[in-house]
């Protein structure tokens, strides 16, 4: 490894040390990312009557997909719906924050950036458990909701879809804010001023200039928020109940009980959706601009 580090200062003339530099990491990704994905697809086609003790036979059981999707259609759709709502909420919440950081923060910009990342430093699970307390039946939020009539007198938030979506929104908000901030920050202020000089109202200027120019950030942020939300099972487990199960919960529990073919079929389906979304994104942005 050390012989490779000293190489890269004079590029093109060398006998392609690029491959030497890339090889160790590429091998790792191949062995522990690509090969496992292939194995996941293979597992999804195993004979579903097998077990860990008896072993699984490869029977090209495409029926696994039909069966598991039919059986778990509800958590699958619910997972996508929760993730979509959480992503939308993140966009609504994240845009003003990213905008403030990019255009209003002045010399506080770096501090705000640190503050946006800071919640990450407290463990994900510990933060999510804090939400359990905030949304508890005897807690402040439920109390206010009941007083204002937003919630029925015996209405609750914990163990409902609302709590799960709230948890997802909170946990993945920074993934929305950061790419939004990066793309807003790049905008040439003179373009926005020019819109104003040409008699655009601030709102028109925003709609016609700022918003379109920040679209790369919107798209990247949407992906970065939607993808982890769609696969999440932590928020549903800690803040929801059995009626709020998402696809991640099903995959996790199927694996835990050793029903590998069904779990793999569901994982492959989820991955296929995500890859399709990423492919659309790459066609828009190209491979060099990948985050």
């Amino acid at each position: 490894m050390s012989s490779a580090t000293s190489a890269p200062s004079m590029p093109r003339r060398r006998l392609s040390p690029a491959w030497l530099l890339l090889l160790p990491g590429a091998l790792w990704l191949a062995a522990f990312f690509l090969v496992p994905l292939v194995q996941l697809v293979a597992t999804s086609l195993y004979d579903p009557t097998g077990s860990e003790e008896l072993g699984y036979a490869m029977t090209w059981e495409f029926g696994n997909y039909v069966d598991s999707l039919a059986f778990y259609a509800e958590p699958f759709l619910r997972g996508f719906a929760y993730a979509a709502i959480a992503t939308l909420l993140c966009l609504v919440l994240g845009y003003p924050l990213a905008y403030t950081m990019a255009f209003k923060a002045g010399r506080w910009k770096n501090l705000m950036l640190i503050l946006v990342i800071a919640p990450f430093f407290t463990s994900f699970l510990v933060r999510t458990l804090a939400w359990k307390l905030i949304l508890a039946d005897n807690g402040f939020v439920v109390g206010v909701g009941r007083t204002l009539g937003l919630l029925a007198d015996d209405g609750r938030l914990l163990a409902t879809g609302i709590a799960v979506v709230a948890g997802l929104t909170y946990n993945f908000l920074p993934f929305m804010v950061l790419p939004l901030y990066v793309s807003l920050e790049k905008i040439d202020h003179r373009l926005i001023e020019a819109a104003g000089d040409l008699y655009a109202s601030p709102l028109q200027g925003f709609r016609r200039v700022t918003l379109p120019l920040s679209m790369p950030g919107v798209v990247a942020g949407t992906l970065l928020t939607f993808i982890p939300s769609a696969g999440d099972f932590i928020n549903s487990r800690l803040l929801g109940d059995t009626t709020t199960q998402m696809i991640g919960n099903v995959i996790e529990s199927r694996f835990k009980v050793g029903d590998y073919p069904a779990a793999a079929a569901l994982s492959v389906t989820l991955m296929a959706f995500i890859v399709a979304m990423v492919a659309v994104y790459i066609r828009r942005a190209g491979t060099e601009e990948l985050l």
């Binding site: 990704l29 209003k104 430093f121 463990s123 909170y170 793999a264």
Partner: protein, 268 residues
Amino acid sequence: MVRLGRWISGHLVLTAGLAVLTYMFVPIIIVVLMSFNKPPSRALYTFGEPTLANWLKPCEPEGLCSSLITSVQIGLLATVAATALGTLMAFGLVRHRFRGRPVANVVIFLPMASPEVVLGASLLALFVAVGFGGVLGFWTILVAHIMFCLSFVVVTVRARLQGMDSRLEQAAMDLYATESQAFWKVTFPLVFPGILSAALLAFALSFDAVIITNFNSGQTTTFPMYVWGAAQRDIPMQINVVGTAMFALAVAAVLGGEMLRRRRERVQ
């Protein structure tokens, strides 16, 4: 109408932005408060009366501190390995044009774009298929963490490299520095902050990884796995002590780094 619009963009957006930032800290405040909390009974995860006991006896709940040690060990090893592999890859990608670059870019991007549940599930499927189902534990967690931290390291170091002026190296070599002198005296010091932030990111990601660890941990308990297990039974308040301490340490480190950077910039 125009004035109203201007007021909105002037103040409402600012207020909304700051409100959202405040909202991000609500759970953190709860975590800090809970670290000083004595619940009415062990089974209840609610506010009772204030106490210092959690801070004085952080290791009291069985298995908490050993899980922390496991997490730190895995975190450090994963950080070193992912940072080394990822930094090399970043150099290869930025400094060289070669066929297959788009493929390399996609392969590096995909793990970041995959839901953690798929990463964890596919690794588990592989481990089971090759007969490793029984030895899941420390090493399988480590392998998984290196894999998913790697892409983040590449992206972070690559961004730093791309932002670097390559003419500085050329100038060094014009001034008769050898290739390796130019690298170690010019390139490496300039890239180092990027490598450092990549390493910090890798450690943070590994330390906090729940989903992927859950699939590949076997009987080994990292700190997130400890909390995950405790959440199914009764949750010791001490996890909030760990959360608060980590938060304080990390913020101190980041602020310290920022101050150092400012001072250095002033000197330059």
